[in-house]
């Protein structure tokens, strides 16, 4: 059947494969950079429970629904859940990690500007999943 030449198809497939290799390499490189957690990150324990977030800082202070962090510090979230799957998500800082009961997932971020951002739940968790939202306050670093 192929009594007509096929070379345009081979060029097209080669271009597609080249594009895919470029996408894969770029993604691999960017992921490698993002996954590297700075050593001096402060640990914040994040617990998702049916329909609210609760946070526990290193010095033991607990916060429900609101998280206050300081500018210029690196923070490492240890995300877990108490009942069903949730997903801790600060959309503005591309922080997304599933909160799965019986498992602790880690994700880090280092805010550079003062501001107020939304925290939301990105995994279906039932009746009030749509409003399982929190607030992230990034404040001036009073100590240093």
């Amino acid at each position: 059947m192929g009594h007509h030449s096929n070379w345009p198809e081979w060029i097209y497939v080669a271009v597609v494969i080249a594009l895919m290799v470029w996408v894969g390499a770029e993604a691999w490189n960017a992921e490698r950079l993002i996954e590297h957690v700075p050593a001096d990150a402060e640990i914040i324990k994040v617990t998702g429970q049916q329909w609210f977030w609760s946070f526990e800082h290193e010095d033991g202070t607990k916060e429900i629904g609101e998280l206050h962090v300081k500018v210029g510090h690196a923070y490492k979230f240890e995300v877990t859940s108490k009942d069903v799957n949730h997903s801790f998500n600060i959309h503005d800082y591309v922080v997304l990690m599933d909160a799965i009961p019986g498992r602790i997932n880690t994700v880090w971020f280092a805010p550079m500007e003062v501001g107020e951002h939304d925290i939301q739940c990105r995994e279906y968790c039932g009746l009030i999943h749509y409003n399982m939202r929190g607030k992230l306050y990034i404040e001036e670093d009073t100590l240093s």
Binding site: M1, E9, V16, M20, A27, A30, I100, Q120, Y124, C125
Partner: protein, 508 residues
């Protein structure tokens, strides 16, 4: 053997028949019924999301149930049965055999669909079509969840039986002097998707059983309180369901392979590259399932493996697009309704694929996972490629099945409105996902950009809704009172071209 035809045959004779055309007709009518029921739920969801706050749907429990059944219905009760309808009707004719290999098995596989549909629709479960444990174990209430599980179990068995039937028909019962390479591409697409079904579905059957025993408290596979791990379910689910989405798209591409050469008045550019692409896709589809689970805390190497598996599937689909474009090149194309749907389907297929590459890139998945970008992306596949290919093929087979011609003008209006509606809804949802709107939410905070984009999407959905009403009127009216079509050349393309019931492709 000429089958004597009683005019018109009593209804019970059709419902209890095992002839492939009758079972194909039963599949067709059931799948179109579920298309309209699932579509109605989609309109309810879009109407609710038009404004923030709750207007139409009472509370979030009802909304959660609606989007769960919307997803389950359209995937399992429209797309797969529609593909079986086309397959049952045309594959035996294309391989020049009198019927499917196992006619009774064919009827059994069909008659599992209505009870499974009843189970899903009567229960109306609320834990998303993905039934994530531990929610589906400890929080999903009532018999609804268990009915959903049984419904899915029956549908799984039905699609496995159908797959066995297709494989034996194509491989074993094809005409002796037709070599496997000469089998038309529509039949090849059913062979490829049936092979995937055979390998993929059993994993999900096991996961369903485990989920049921977890709910009964007998076992604790996925229940963290009893030492289980929800991620195990995610792996079992997605190992079945990523190949399954290829099972859904491959028959639609096979249908486009029937339509495009026919209306371009030119044979397919390269039959062998189509076959190669189908087989490559069905093999590679098993290597990419965990790109749905990047956010569950997988290690860096694990994510890289599945990213490479996902990117490996892109060249196979790209070859199909090339094959279609090259076929249309130098053709003399008549843009009847089926051809419009097929070309619209390819354009959306390409944009859906491009969106998918973004999801596959690991760091970008943090941005798009479980957001409206993902909703837009997979709807471009299920609506843009599969529904467009299927509806296009429905218009194409209409004169052949009913002996009458559909109304061409209403068909074109249906296409134009659906195409514009699909772009309005699903391209906007991509941007909405980038702005951070999470998926499966009954209500959203009144952020101006979110409101604007949700309203554009809802308007697009209403356009698709009205176009589907025109489609329904066209189908019912024309099948009853349409003008009689000459089944040798219903689209008067001016040639004794190869048409399925000729079943001898002189071109090979």
């Amino acid at each position: 053997m000429v089958l004597e035809l009683q005019k018109p045959r009593p209804i019970w004779q059709i419902m209890f028949s095992t002839h492939h055309t009758d079972v194909g007709l039963l599949y067709l009518i059931t799948s179109l019924a579920f298309l309209f029921m699932g579509g109605a739920l989609a309109l309810a969801i879009r109407a609710e999301l038009f404004f923030p706050g709750s207007q139409i749907i009472a509370d979030s429990m009802t909304f959660n149930r609606i989007f769960t059944v919307h997803g389950t219905t359209l995937i399992f009760l429209f797309i797969i049965p529609f593909a079986s309808a086309v397959g049952n009707y045309f594959v035996p004719i294309m391989v020049r055999y009198k019927d499917m290999a196992y006619p009774k098995l064919n009827a059994i596989a069909f008659w599992m669909i209505p009870p499974a549909g009843a189970l899903i629709w009567l229960g109306f479960a609320d834990f998303t079509w993905y039934a994530t444990p531990p929610y589906s174990i400890i929080s999903a209430p009532g018999p609804a969840a268990d009915m959903w599980i049984f419904g899915l179990k029956i549908l799984g068995i039905s699609s496995v039986l159908g797959a066995i039937n297709f494989i034996v028909t194509i491989l074993k019962c094809k005409h002796p002097d037709m070599s496997l390479g000469q089998v038309p591409l529509l039949a090849w697409s059913f062979l490829a998707s049936s092979l995937i079904i055979l390998v993929a579905i059993p994993t999900f059957a096991a996961a369903l059983l485990m989920l049921l025993t977890d709910r009964l408290g007998v076992s604790g596979f996925f229940n963290p309180a009893m030492g289980g791990d929800p991620i195990a379910y995610a792996h079992l689910f997605w190992f079945t369901f990523h190949p399954e989405v290829y099972v859904l798209v491959i028959p639609a591409i096979g249908m486009m392979y029937e339509i495009i050469p026919r209306f371009s008045r030119k044979p397919i550019y390269s039959h062998s590259s189509g076959v190669f692409a189908f087989v490559l896709l069905s093999v590679v589809s098993f290597s990419s399932w965990a790109h749905h689970m990047y956010a569950t805390g997988m290690s860096f190497t694990e994510k890289t493996v599945f990213m490479i598996g996902t990117l490996a599937a892109v060249p196979a689909s790209a070859m199909h697009v090339f094959n279609f474009i090259a076929t249309m090149w130098n053709g003399r194309i008549r843009f009847a309704t089926p051809m419009m749907w097929a070309v619209g389907g390819i354009a959306l297929f390409f944009s859906a694929g491009a969106g998918g590459v973004v999801n596959a890139a690991m760091p970008l998945d943090f941005q798009t996972h479980d957001s409206y970008w993902v909703v837009g992306h997979f709807h471009l596949f299920v609506m843009g490629t599969i529904a467009f290919g299927s509806i296009g093929y429905l218009y194409y087979m209409f004169p052949y099945v009913t002996g009458r011609m559909y109304n061409e003008k209403m068909g074109k209006v249906h296409f134009v409105m659906s195409f514009i509606g699909t772009i309005l809804v699903f391209f906007t949802q991509h941007v909405l996902g980038l702005y951070g709107m999470p998926r499966r939410v009954f209500d959203y905070p009144p952020i101006p950009e979110w409101i604007a984009m949700n309203q554009i999407a809802s308007v697009g959905a209403m356009i698709i809704g009205t176009s589907m009403v025109i489609f329904l009127i066209n189908m019912i009216y024309s099948s009853a009172k349409g003008k009689i079509a000459d089944t040798d050349d219903p689209f008067d393309l001016g040639g004794k071209y190869y048409y399925p019931f000729e079943s001898k492709n002189p071109h090979h």
